[in-house]
């Protein structure tokens, strides 16, 4: 789940107030195109590659990367959807509910999975995603692609592909969509 939905979720959530546009829609598209090329380069092709978008922020990014890969390599890469709610480590501490569907194409055993998410922050969502993926078979390897790495990691997790490294204050909020990346604050309702 994207950080944004979690922070804005009732009952404790607030309203997102945008402050600075950091990336435009075009910048996001360029970053995704670069990430797609990096995936091909690093893995010397697209054999056994499955993209898995994290619900909900990572999903449109994963589909966009798959489209670029198809244009560049002429290969259709399967895209899975994953909601990590049941694997989070803050269940019972804060509101955790599944946001959207999980749909993983078949057994992942032997595949190379590229997890796609919008923002990498504490790393806890990615930790939950790694545990969830393990229930779908033993992937040959798992890589991580994010549009924004905003720092403040609480776990030893690092991304393989980054759209933009963006130092932030811990109380700021990053909003990612295909329309761009916006830095702002959450204000109590």
């Amino acid at each position: 789940m994207a950080e944004r939905e979690r922070r804005l979720a009732p009952p404790r959530g607030g309203v997102f107030v945008p402050r600075v546009q950091v990336l435009s829609a075009q910048d996001v598209q360029r970053a995704l195109t670069r990430i797609a090329h990096e995936i091909v380069e690093r893995n010397r092709g697209l054999d056994d590659i499955v993209l898995v978008g994290l619900q909900t922020g990572g999903v449109p990014l994963a589909y966009r990367i798959a489209r670029v890969l198809e244009e560049v390599e002429g290969t259709t890469v399967p895209v899975g959807l994953l909601d990590v709610a049941f694997y989070r480590d803050d269940i019972g501490i804060r509101p955790v509910l599944p946001e959207a569907v999980t749909d993983i194409p078949g057994d992942l055993a032997g595949n190379l999975v590229v997890l796609v998410d919008d923002v990498l922050f504490t790393g806890r969502t990615v930790r939950a995603a790694l545990n969830a993926l393990a229930d779908y078979g033993r992937a040959r390897a798992v890589q991580l692609a994010v549009m924004v790495d905003r720092g403040h990691r609480e776990l030893p997790i690092r991304p393989d592909y980054v759209g933009k490294n963006m130092p932030t204050r811990i109380d700021e909020q990053v909003d990612v969509s295909l329309e761009g990346v916006v830095l702002g604050d959450v204000v109590a309702r």
Partner: protein, 333 residues
């Protein structure tokens, strides 16, 4: 102390609550389809099933649900417990609670027993059927099954189908309404979602008063409503609750209120036949009708696990997000 949340009755829930439970159930249906149908969501939590009445499907369904959420399950039948030695229900429940229990799943012959347990212990309580009162998870899984079938017919993915399709849905609840907690929960649930509920029963098997019940009609003539029914919900004739005394004979009941092949053929096209189980074949439902494609009885059972996972997860795991029903203060009472 934050108040514990419980699921005691469907009549405590609003349409939004029901819709949210059905939505969360979708995620658990997906879990059930995996090679390893288990998630770590409730690791370290303890769920006790406390059944003071016979049950096969409900108990196994709740225990399967809890185990698939990785909770620890203690199974507890009053028949084999110290209650037999004369210990009161309250003392027994408090003793079990002292082991460190996060949720009690309670079935009891007395209406209100789960609500009493909720007052006695600091744990979430799920009503798994209390006397003639309510059986909320049965109604929720029935609603889930209806929504699933409607989504399939519309060719829509399940997550796109909300509960709007219940508005105006014609539901006939047939049989022993008087003694049926399933009927009470189902009537509240479907009516809350906008369905039009009609009761079909002999006068002796209707409750003494229908004041406040959200039903649009009552009839003693099953044949007269067959053409105008989308959901034909058959209730079990509850002989253990003394239904027999309310009827001249079971044969006469079956002739007037049983869904036989002749009546099934007259049902509107696409109508669903539902039954909460266990079925009395040849009484409320004919053997050949139970096997028809419009009968979704086994689907109801299969969906039960996912819906109960959703209920347990929303009560125990979501830290306030999935508010279900009333909160009863945990003070002694």
């Amino acid at each position: 102390m934050t108040p514990r949340r419980h699921l005691l009755a469907v009549s405590d829930l609003g349409a939004d609550d029901i819709a949210e439970i059905l939505r969360v159930s979708d995620a658990f249906v997906e879990v059930g389809q995996r090679a390893i149908p288990k998630v770590p969501a409730l690791r370290g939590r303890t769920v006790v099933t406390l059944f003071a009445e016979q049950s096969t499907r409900t108990r196994l369904s709740f225990e399967t649900a809890a185990k698939r959420l990785s909770a620890d399950v203690l199974s507890f039948g009053l028949e084999t417990s110290s209650v037999k030695k004369g210990e009161s229900l309250r003392d027994t429940v408090e003793t079990v609670a002292a082991l460190g229990v996060d949720a009690f799943v309670v079935r009891h012959t007395a209406a209100g027993a789960p609500a009493a347990v909720a007052r006695w212990v600091d744990a979430s309580v799920v009503n798994a059927g209390d006397g003639w009162h309510e059986h909320p998870t049965q109604a929720l899984l029935d609603c889930y099954t209806i929504r699933q079938v409607l989504a399939e017919r519309a060719g829509e993915p399940l997550e796109k189908v909300g509960t709007e399709s219940f508005v105006g849905l014609r539901v006939a609840v047939v049989g022993d309404v008087r003694h049926s907690r399933v009927a009470r929960s189902l009537i509240w649930a479907t009516a809350a979602l906008g369905a039009n509920v009609t009761l079909v029963a002999p006068g002796s098997l209707l409750p003494p008063s229908l004041e406040g019940w959200p039903v649009v009609g009552v009839t003693h003539d099953f044949d007269a409503v067959l053409d105008d029914v989308d959901i034909c919900y058959l209730l079990r004739l509850q002989s253990e609750r003394g239904t027999g005394a309310y009827l001249p004979s079971v044969r006469e009941y079956a002739a007037s209120y049983g869904l036989n092949a002749r009546r099934a053929a007259r049902l509107a096209e696409g109508a669903l036949v539902m039954h909460p189980g266990p079925m009395n074949r040849g009484v409320e439902i004919a053997d050949e009708v139970a096997g028809l494609p419009q009968s979704v009885v086994l689907r109801q059972v299969a969906n039960g696990v996912a819906v109960r996972m959703a209920v347990l997860f929303m009560l125990l795991g979501s830290g306030g997000a999935g508010d279900l029903g009333v909160s009863v203060p945990a003070a002694g009472g």
